[in-house]
Symmetry: C3
Subunit: 356 residues, 3 copies
């Protein structure tokens, strides 16, 4: 797919993989309709190359790593981490000038491999500050990844509009009907959009109840979802009793700090990455497993099937073109869609200007 | 799909479901490329709504029925049997003016739910008279439904041209080669087209033989297939001995009265509904099961695979555009195709006139 | 698909089937996007007809053979080996003038059924001389067929460029790295293109080693692949010790004579036919089985998956349009692609000239 027609924002950071996914094997993954091979150099530095040999177009990921290079499975051409051909075993063994594979800038941070797929120079400062993930007990953080067959913006919608929680999800994260009637508070700051809901409920949310001073008694709750381009949503949720502040840092609140990242594989498939860190019950490694299992169960059995059905009904990725009936809880996801669309259009314009 | 481009006749009655298919659960079914949710109100009245919430386009059929309303699974909006939103649990709970779902007129008759999908006012008088189905022993009538992956007009062709019987089907309904040489008699009446074949055979058709006065001896046979728009074929078949009249009402003939209805799901998939009533051996409920099993076996193992292969070979739904070699037995199905095409073109013209 | 737009060379011989595939049953096979039914007349002559009844377009291959005719399964029309309708069992039984099915010239040679699908008169002299296949011990020749889901030119590339052998394949046909550094010698003769490689290796190729005078000791090797239009590749491979000539006919060399034929089913599927004759160990019938098993294993587990991945990466059948990086070993396959493309363009031009 030519860059000219890409429906994605390109000059930005997407999560390409969990850090733990890059081990001894070559990893092949399609991101933004582009097939990429990932591996680590001998010093551990991650590498991303277009997964296509420029000779006969075999996937390099079907070959093997040899030192810091990757060797094509079909005719044995080797390429280094910058994508330059380092060996041609055929005929006079001369390396053709054109024998290069595109490589992509990577950054390893917060347990993720981030990739920059645009033509502009990769800008490390564009990544939002998620350092909260980096400190705390090792057993209080858990990662997961799943691929889901729907457009990534439907997953962004789903996380940015939490008013669906009491209608779609089960007992474990119910707000007892308290969240829906709240109109979320929106805040825009440096290109990021945050939506917050606050409410009281009795008993408190079941995921937090046991860790509160008075389980079963009324507690104040707050959840904030903060979108940053292109597809990062940081979700903070917690509760407290007795008017204590609800922040991840406060020992008086029971809170968690999550990051949802939706990287498009294609226009109807998404790599969904997720990390959750909590400020309570931090030593229990088994509890990490339970958190991740619950995330999978909720998404795969409840949100995911609805999103697939919605995508089928829409017949276009452009939700707003369908003249939907909007309600108060749509403010945040709709604003995210408009912002992202504007950023993509701006990028296309810049490209045209540079080209002319 | 916009109405302007629909390849189907719209202002007419199609069978949407067997009456027995509408029970306690929501039923989702695609008819004429349109996804519809069906349910019964508390008083039993059947309801048909577009199966798409106007908010975020989730299928209402994934939600639940609540009294006479259906509740969206994603954010809990409720809609009544006319498609009006009756509840919005979010924010100030105001119901948006646009929050409406299209509803479709239904009619329950002869054990079927009939649906009217056009823009004109539903006209109950347009349904042909099939009241023969309504009287008789409860064990002498049997219904079935199957979905088949081919264009509905191929199934109409198949039933309107019975000359294939001795070539494609097995012993149970063989005419011993007597039917093919007969040129069917065509009659057109009030928009309905009937084709009849008459012949004698020894032994009689096996499905009737045991119920005749002299099993194994020559009998006169008659079969009539009568098409009515859009996709209803009433098939009467029977036989008698000793020059007795062959009618469903006559006690001297062994006869059955069937209705085949082919409702398009899409351009290459059909909902095939079938009912058969007989005037003999009326009390045997197990015989009903056998009749239905035989219908399935004949269609699924013999007609159906041929129709699928024909559709694949045709590469277009427009049979007549392929310049087929026609023979005498094609008169009825070809006339049905021409009539239906003219009706659809007329409907498109009317729509254009109204629009201008 | 109309002839005007066909991407294939038409006035030429393709293998349609192994001789042994035509037995008592009708065989249906799609060649060059065209569905064809094959059978043998009572005297054994093979017949090829368009697999589509001109009446209602049912596949004749779903019917049955009756003497020298084939009978349509749907309404019983019969067609002879020239495609003329010989029986219509309906109405007055008159045979409609238009009731004809296209038939295709066949030639049975070297254990294959060859088909001519173009409009020009079939020219038996166009088939290259493969008579080497016809003489020798019955247990020294083995045939196989497989269908593979990729464009046929990718398989031609693969056989015409043997420099992939040491990179993609395993121990059994390794040249110990000796083949890749050789620049193949190209020879063009009467429209056929041959590429040859010569080298010495120790130990000799394992498929030949045991049959040499001094197993394990150095041997001279030669392989030649000779392409003839449209998709025939004759591969000769062998080795000898002590400067003996390497030819199939020479008793001093251990050699085999193979034919690879790739007939397009469609633009992304190929009928791959293969025959191998050897000049050594000729009486062992079980060894034939092993040769065929090895051919399947190498292609299905090694070449085939790479070709599928290459096709997916290319997104077009036109390899040269993708500006590939070419190396010395690409000379032969690239010249074949250019020759075949020129022949197809010439055929289209001739057709246009004739039409105007």
């Amino acid at each position: 797919m030519s860059d000219q027609n890409t429906p994605y924002l390109k000059n930005t950071w997407y999560v390409a993989a969990l850090s733990t996914e890059l081990d001894k094997d070559l990893l092949s993954r399609v991101l933004l309709d582009t097939k990429i091979v990932f591996y680590r150099k001998e010093d551990g530095t991650p590498v991303a190359l277009l997964d296509r040999c420029p000779h006969r177009f075999a996937p390099l990921s079907m070959g093997k790593q040899c030192g810091n290079d990757v060797v094509c499975p079909y005719h044995g051409l080797a390429f280094n981490s910058e994508g330059n051909c380092t060996s041609n075993p055929h005929g006079n063994k001369r390396i053709p000038t054109k024998a290069k594979v595109p490589s992509f800038p990577l950054m390893e941070k917060h347990g993720f491999i981030w990739i920059w797929m645009g033509d502009e120079v990769a800008d490390e400062n564009q990544l939002p500050d998620y350092t909260t993930l980096d400190t705390g007990h090792d057993n209080a953080i858990a990662y997961t990844y799943m691929k889901w067959p729907c457009h990534y913006e439907l997953i962004i919608d789903n996380v940015m509009d939490l008013s669906h929680v009491d209608h779609l999800h089960g007992e474990i994260i119910t707000t007892r009907g308290q969240l829906s009637p709240q109109i979320p508070k929106l805040e825009e700051n440096a290109g990021q959009l945050a939506a917050s809901w606050e409410w009281k409920q009795t008993p408190p949310m079941l995921i937090f109840n046991d860790f509160l001073p008075e389980p079963g008694k009324e507690a104040s709750h707050r959840v904030t979802v903060t979108w940053a381009k292109p597809a990062n949503i940081q979700l903070s949720i917690g509760c407290s009793q007795g008017n204590q502040p609800i922040t991840f840092e406060s020992e008086e609140s029971v809170s968690q700090y999550d990051l949802h990242v939706c990287t498009p594989e294609s226009e109807n498939s998404t790599h969904y990455f997720f990390v959750t860190r909590r400020n309570h019950h931090v030593e229990d490694a088994e509890y990490n497993q339970i958190k991740i299992q619950n995330m999978h169960a909720a998404f795969e059995l409840e949100d995911g099937p609805i999103l697939n059905a919605v995508e089928e009904a829409m017949e276009t990725p452009d939700f707003l073109s369908l003249d939907p009936v909007l309600i108060s809880s749509d403010a945040a996801p709709v604003r995210v869609r408009r912002t992202l669309k504007a950023l993509i259009e701006e990028e296309h314009k810049t490209k045209l200007t540079l080209a002319s």
